[in-house]
């Protein structure tokens, strides 16, 4: 497998609930079948926006730093925090700038708009085409498994605690059927005035 998007492995999932969103990722970094690290989180926070980056490890790290720089510049110019919708468009344009030599990533954005209080989740392809979803978005090497899990477990208007259980079960059972994902997990449950980060203890194989 010389496909850049599946050399290092990794998975992301985001779900919307009732006045809350959740985003979760695995912790693996590999080189094909060999696991190199089990401490490689793929979710990054900028103000009240969260982004999960899967794909080529080097691009995940590079883009997380590019977005930190761009959001800091936005904060200085606008003298306010960036909203998830705005951040999603910033991700989109950043990726499209590299239209003919793309970053090999599959990003997922999640957050709650600080003005309207509305949950926002979306996904992208590697050149920045936004996929806005009302229910859930998935990305990474176990995306098929995640689609199957989310489509059968997710239901509308989940409360934060139920959303945490749903997204955790979706992620854990999906990554157990993918050799390139797993080795732990991180889940963020985001409500208007609280962010809860939990570490998932999962099987280590």
């Amino acid at each position: 497998m010389s496909d850049p998007s599946s050399i290092n492995g990794g998975s992301i999932v985001a779900m919307a609930g009732k006045d809350c969103v959740a985003i979760a990722c695995d912790m693996r970094l590999g080189m094909q079948a060999l696991t190199v690290s089990n401490d490689f989180p793929k979710i990054f926070q900028y103000n009240n926006s969260f982004i999960g980056l899967t794909g080529l490890g080097t691009d995940v790290t590079t883009l997380s730093e590019v977005f930190r720089y761009k959001v800091n510049m936005y904060n200085l110019r606008e003298e306010r925090d960036i909203e998830p919708e705005t951040f999603a468009n910033l991700v989109s344009t950043t990726l499209y700038e590299k239209r003919f030599g793309p970053y090999f990533v599959g990003p997922v954005v999640a957050g709650i708009n600080s003005k309207s209080g509305k949950p926002y989740i979306c996904g992208f392809d590697l050149i920045g085409c936004i996929n806005f979803a009302k229910d859930f978005v998935v990305g990474g090497t176990s995306s098929h498994q995640l689609f199957g899990m989310c489509e059968s477990l997710w239901e509308p208007d989940l409360e934060p605690e139920d959303l945490f259980e749903t997204i955790s079960q979706a992620l854990m059972n999906a990554q157990d059927r993918d050799a390139l994902s797993g080795w732990g997990g991180i889940v963020y449950v985001i409500t208007k005035d609280k962010i809860v980060k939990r570490l998932l203890k999962t099987r280590q194989d």
Binding site: H144, Q145, F147, G148, M149, E151, S152, L153, Q169, M172, N173, A174, D176, R177, T202
Partner: protein
Amino acid sequence: MNTMFAEQFNEPATNHSTAAPIEHRFNPYSDNGGTILAISGADYAVLAGDTRHISGYSINSRFQPRVHTLPGEKPLIVSANGFSADGETLVRRLAQRVEWYSYNHNKPLSAKSCARLIQTMLYGKRMFPYYVATILAGLDENGRGAVYSFDPVGSYEREQCRAGGAAASLIMPFLDNQVNLKNQVDPATGEPKIATDLSLEDTVKLVKDAFSSATERHIQVGDYLEIKIVTKDGVSVEYFPLKRD
């Protein structure tokens, strides 16, 4: 193609040796989509499959049943999903072998032996395999539900449940979670939950949910769901409509 021929004819005779050769190749396999799923219980086994038959983005048939009942008084059910010409051939030849066994030995072929027979039939074509994911369901010698799953060249295993075919990757983790209770803990003790036999009603509900979800996200799955159920009383069939888009 036409321009390539035209160029060849216009070239001087001396350049013929440098012209790129045109390669023709016959591909003996194709993919006819579809998904199958089997779950075994205390005194039953179910084998379900959708009835959509496709090639590429075309739907050849909305109702082409892929779950087959083998001949005999205590029947076994089998489905070979993938390249349907190979699947049909395997099941037809298997049915004949099962029938002849009953005449030669004056007893029905057990599920365990049928599984071994399927292995030898699949491995017999090791160098030109049947391009199929095969699942066999029935009752074992003790009357318990049995599910056997096979890879295209005959490697097999008895399992509690198994999904095969196009949407297997979508359904299998759901089955791990809901049938074998993987990653679930008892809230009171914090200990992992132990899987027990499901009732037939719960199993059929689970199968319908699994296929409804797979239909939603996989274009090769849909139209109708055919659920075959084996008990000591024989084989019963249930149909369930799936989305047709």
